[in-house]
């Protein structure tokens, strides 16, 4: 029972946040101009390595999930873990760049929502769908934000988890954060506190392996 990834889309239909945990096929870097800054550092196509929004301190090594602090005076322990990370075989990358993948996810979610609404005749919510290798859960807020989570196929409905992410870390560190511009069409909502607290919340779940 495990959780693969989380996407958050705003009401302008763009992906404003992404985080993954156990995904085995790595997301590919987005094309230039396809993605907003401040969504997910490892796939953002930055030409200059010292981009101000992603300083050297934010180096979550995406292949292993281990935070490797990169400082000038790195202690020997992190040297060992760095070489351990380097020895892992390169993981397969998805054939789709990240921005296209996010758009596909949004498109699937939107089309399914409309289909279910049409079929049921009332204002019915689409909740989740399941394939042979993953299950996608949707939680939509009244303000138009869509929280999408991918988990393994045997999980029960994780809508309550998405609700918890909304009422906990999202309200605290995004809505009530004066430095995060929520309605901007130019930036995502990635910030350290939000990322850490969502990570803590998800890793603390019983369904997370």
């Amino acid at each position: 029972m495990t959780i693969y990834s989380l996407y958050i889309f705003d009401k302008h239909c763009t992906c404003v946040y992404y985080q993954d945990w156990h995904r085995t096929v790595r997301p590919k870097t987005a094309v230039e101009g396809g993605m907003l800054p401040a969504v997910y550092a490892p796939v953002y196509p930055s030409r200059n390595p010292d981009d101000a929004s992603y300083s050297n301190r934010n180096t979550l090594s995406s292949s292993s999930g281990i935070v490797v602090a990169v400082n000038d005076d790195a202690p020997p322990a992190s040297q060992v873990s760095q070489s351990h990370v380097a020895q892992q075989p390169p993981q397969p990358t998805s054939s789709l760049p990240f921005d296209e993948e996010a758009k596909l996810v949004y498109g699937v979610v939107l089309s399914l929502r409309n289909m279910i609404k049409k079929l049921s005749g009332k204002d019915e919510q689409f909740t989740n769908y399941q394939t042979s290798t993953y299950k996608l859960h949707l939680y939509e807020t009244l303000s138009g934000y869509k929280f999408v989570m991918l988990s393994d196929p045997n999980a029960d409905s994780l809508r309550f988890v998405l609700r918890q992410i909304y009422s906990g870390p999202f309200l605290e560190y995004v809505v009530r954060n004066p430095l995060v511009d929520m309605d901007s069409r130019e930036r995502g909502i990635d910030n350290e506190y939000f990322r850490m607290s969502t990570d803590r919340l998800v890793r603390g779940l019983t369904v997370f392996q």
Binding site: L104, V108, M115, L119, S120, T131, S132, L136
Partner: protein
């Protein structure tokens, strides 16, 4: 525990058979069913590409709040979709039986053109006995 509808979609995404049972879901026009079936065909293809762990099948259960759809994709590309209430446990076996009836009454019918809409009394009658 109720079944609301059954669709059969050919490999190009066109709806070839549609049947509603009871009144769990509102009745739509045949055009609307055609559009929904085409949308579902496309969604099914996309869902197999979004897998976070390599290759995956397309979606085989899609749930709403009061009903769910089970989808069976056969080796020939035909999709059988059954719309049931949320607690229906037998949807997958039902789909297998519908597939068997399809193979018997439709595929073995020498007057039926493949991938065309199904107009067969035998198929209709056997589906009624199976699903009510």
């Amino acid at each position: 525990m109720a079944i609301y509808g059954l669709w059969v979609i050919n490999k190009a995404g066109g709806l070839v058979y549609e049947r509603s049972f009871g009144d769990g879901l509102p009745h739509l026009t045949s055009n609307e069913y055609l559009v929904l079936a085409g949308t579902l065909h496309g969604i099914h293809a996309i869902t197999s590409r979004l897998s976070p762990t390599g290759s995956s099948s397309g979606a085989h259960v899609i749930s709403g709040e009061t009903f769910k759809m089970n989808i069976l994709l056969t080796a020939t590309g035909t999709k059988f979709v059954v719309i049931t209430s949320l607690v229906e446990p037998n949807a997958d076996s039902m789909l297998q039986k519908v597939y068997e009836i399809y193979a018997d009454a439709v595929m073995k019918n020498p007057f039926h053109t493949p991938e065309m809409p199904i107009r067969s009394e035998g198929f209709d009658a056997r589906i009624t006995t199976l699903l009510g």
